[in-house]
């Protein structure tokens, strides 16, 4: 039994934590929150230089070829630091999609720029406030030209290329496919939209006969496989964030005196912190299983990913909202950092689709496994 990260991976974690404490403290995160800056370009460049962006990209495609366990380690630290960069869009979704389904030519032409950070990618799936199901997709492709509207697209305003989910032809019942679109090219109009978490950017993309290049042959099942991979990585970010929210709540409760003693001594607070700990530990343990499934391409990936995602979403939700509660009025001020985690928690919980849909997806995966 070796269900732990190894010494090298733990060393990477320590280095990443130190680096991010120095380069992505709350003051840096707030620059993205309080200005028009969409992401921290300096941080992004350094992620490329240190080989973080290419951690799971093989060396032949310009990556550092470390592996997915190392990428999980980095993801947790990015989550802790709330790093204001398009890491999830470009790496968990873009690079993973290319590595999963890209042709040799696509991998060779696109992955090296993703690994250095020179190119930013994103996934354009949602079409407004309704579930993003295959049936609901109206964006379509004919003769290699893609048209339709996507909202919201995380990092859509800053990305160079998007993987767009669109129907093959406009006919009713047409199947969805994945297409690569150059967002700097013709037929693309993009606008930044405001969101609950301004530390990450969201956009509306309108396509009018934009040239589109097919990615893979499978369509929807491929999309779900990519989402499973991204869900594991994002769950590590969520657990990282949840743990920091818990640490903040604990530190504040130890130093805050009321009725003559630290509020951390009252059971109402102690038990809530214990619950944060319980939920975070369960989520972390489920994330480890997800990491194992991701790194070994195990048949269990669909179940493991949904399990990690559902518990990490729940843990971050609980820790970030109760962190504000334990801080009392100060937790509700702009000045304190509690809201940064609260915002990010909501962002990540919605980023790959709602908790309701992931729970449903988990049960579907279990039904499939039982039927097999």
């Amino acid at each position: 039994m070796n269900f732990e990260f190894n010494d090298d991976q733990r060393m990477l974690r320590d280095q990443a934590r130190r680096f991010l404490l120095d380069k992505s403290p709350p003051a840096v995160v707030r620059e993205t929150l309080e200005t028009d800056q969409a992401y921290d370009k300096d941080l992004w460049r350094q992620f490329g230089e240190m080989g973080w962006l290419g951690a799971a990209i093989p060396e032949v495609y310009g990556g550092s070829g470390l592996g997915h366990l190392e990428l999980c380690v980095i993801a947790e630290e990015l989550g802790r630091a709330l790093a204001p960069t398009p890491f999830a869009s470009s790496i968990y979704l873009g690079a993973e999609a290319l590595m999963t389904a890209g042709s040799e030519e696509q991998k060779q032409s696109y992955l090296p720029d993703i690994a250095t950070g020179a190119a930013i990618w994103c996934l354009a799936l949602s079409e407004g406030p309704r579930p993003a199901t295959e049936k609901n997709i109206t964006t379509s492709v004919s003769d290699g030209k893609l048209s339709g509207e996507k909202l919201p697209v995380a990092d859509g305003d800053i990305a160079d290329r998007a993987i767009v989910v669109a129907k093959d032809g406009a006919a009713d019942g047409a199947l969805a496919g994945l297409y690569i679109v150059d967002l700097n090219g013709a037929g693309v109009e993009r606008t930044t939209v405001d969101s609950v978490d301004p530390t990450r950017s969201q956009a509306r993309l309108v396509f009018r006969d934009a040239p589109a290049e097919k990615l893979g042959d499978e369509g929807w099942p491929l999309l779900e496989r990519i989402q499973d991979r991204a869900a594991v990585l994002m769950a590590f970010e969520q657990v990282g964030g949840a743990e920091v929210a818990m640490e903040m709540a604990k530190e504040y409760a130890m130093g805050r005196y009321a009725f003559g003693r630290p509020i951390a001594g009252y059971q109402a607070i102690k038990h809530r912190l214990a619950d944060m700990y319980i939920q975070t530990e369960l989520a972390r343990s489920n994330c480890y299983y997800g990491a194992w499934a991701l790194s070994t391409d195990a048949a269990e990936l669909a179940v493991a990913a949904a399990t990690a995602r559902v518990s990490a979403t729940e843990a971050y939700h609980f820790a970030s909202k109760e962190n504000i509660q334990i801080h009392g009025g100060m937790g509700f001020t702009w000045e304190f950092n509690c809201h940064l985690y609260y915002r990010r928690s909501r962002n990540l919980a919605l980023a790959l689709g709602s908790q309701r849909r992931w729970k449903d997806r988990l049960i579907r995966a279990l039904e499939r496994r039982n039927a097999a």
Binding site: M1, N2, L273, A274, Y277, V310, L362
Partner: protein
């Protein structure tokens, strides 16, 4: 990351597997039962037979020293054995307290001759032990206990006379020996006036009365002491240091208290697959799926946390906080799943008759048994305090019982 055993672990696992396959019934072939009934004579005889078999095959006292009949193995082997045994129907339970808590306390505090005398018969299942700790006035607040231990005379080695009452004693009715903590001094602060003993449950002056539980079963007892005499040679630890000895026992309890029984996710998943609701199969109902997902991620979270603990043990480390999380999560899940399972059966969910109730009344049994799991071995609230104080390092609750004579503490009674 991988789930592979080391070479030693593989060899041990295979040995355990073949022993179990030859000597026990695999759960996959066994009929589901919904009660333990381990206070019946035949169940007791079966448990004794099984313990003796384990001893003879080298699977009893896995982590105990070899000179006392144990196997001298590392804790990881214990975990591996439990994993394998979990697939089989075996009459466990009777020896868990003795081997999990009483004998380890004896190892820490008894004389060499006493260890030689008591360890092996306990391991062979010839002698059963129970633990006389909780009292009507000392449950979660164990140190509040009032059972009196008085010396019979002034000599340093004078014997002891015990008067008082214990409660919630599992297995007292068929135990041969017990460990006991009692108050030897009412004039010093609460935690400083306790002394620890072991004694024969056949001692004159002991009276055992079963407690009928919500579930109808009687796994626990009240134990009354009237002038029960204990030789001073059976004192464990110094006079007045009974609290320190108790902590040794309780530390072992955290590892011994297991996960709640079925129904768990698998059983409720089975139930909803066979249930038809007003608008179609229950498994297609969004609300049902939402609840199923909640229980699955909790169950898997505990399972995966256990893998992390095993990794630590395998490398010679100590168990992590998993042991305190386990019961808090699984007992509530057990109760919630039981409630939900009866809900799925609509008005008939109230019926316990195994001929009528789904899955032989498993969920109805759970409704009536689960409240006990949220209390036994540390209540939900006490376990949260343990996590808060020992894992997160938060301050203790305000205490009004640390100073002054125990006899002066308010009791709420006249």
């Amino acid at each position: 990351m991988d789930f592979a055993d080391t070479q030693d672990e593989t060899a041990f696992r295979e040995k355990a597997r073949s022993f179990l396959a030859e000597n026990a019934e695999n759960k996959a072939n066994a009929k589901r039962t919904n009660g333990t009934g381990w206070n019946k004579d035949e169940a007791l005889a079966a448990a004794q037979l099984w313990q003796a078999k384990k001893f003879d095959a080298g699977f009893a006292g896995l982590t105990m020293p070899t000179e006392y009949g144990g196997q001298g193995l590392s804790p990881i082997m214990q975990v591996i054995y439990h994993q394998e045994e979990a697939d089989y129907v075996t009459p466990r339970g009777v020896y868990e307290i003795g081997l999990g808590m009483c004998i380890p306390t004896m190892f820490a505090y008894a004389t060499e001759a006493q260890k030689q005398r008591f360890a092996k018969p306990a391991l062979r299942g010839e002698e059963i032990w129970c633990q006389l700790f909780s009292e009507p006035a000392g449950g979660s607040d164990l140190a509040g206990l009032r059972t009196r231990a008085e010396r019979d005379g002034n000599a340093d080695d004078a014997n002891w006379v015990i008067n008082g009452q214990k409660i919630w004693t599992s297995g007292a009715q068929f135990s041969d020996y017990a460990i006991l903590v009692a108050r030897s001094d009412f004039d010093v602060p609460k935690h400083k006036g306790l002394t620890f003993f072991f004694l024969s449950m056949k001692s004159p002056g002991i009276e055992i009365r079963p407690i009928k539980q919500v579930s109808g079963a009687a796994n626990f007892n009240e134990v009354y002491f009237t002038d029960v005499r204990i030789p001073d040679s059976q004192r464990l630890g110094a006079v007045g240091e009974g609290w320190k000895v108790s902590l040794t026992t309780l530390m072992n309890e955290r590892f011994a208290v297991g996960i709640a029984p079925a129904p768990d996710f698998e059983e409720v998943f089975d139930l909803v697959r066979d249930t038809e609701l007003e608008d179609g199969p229950a498994l297609d109902n969004a609300l049902v799926r939402d609840r199923l997902a909640d229980w699955y991620v909790r169950q898997q979270g505990l399972r995966n946390a256990h893998f992390r603990t095993m990794t630590a043990l395998s490398k010679g480390g100590t168990p992590g906080p998993e042991s305190s999380i386990n019961k808090v999560v699984s007992a509530v899940k057990y109760q919630d799943i039981s409630f939900f399972g009866t809900d799925m059966q609509e008005m008939a969910g109230i019926i316990t008759d195994p001929e009528i109730a789904a899955m032989d009344g498993l969920f109805q049994t759970g409704v009536l048994s689960s409240p006990g799991y949220r209390i036994a071995g540390g209540t939900d609230e006490i376990l949260r305090n343990i996590i808060a104080e020992r894992v997160l390092g938060l301050p203790q609750d305000v205490r009004l019982d640390k100073e002054g004579a125990f006899r002066d503490l308010p009791t709420g009674r006249d």
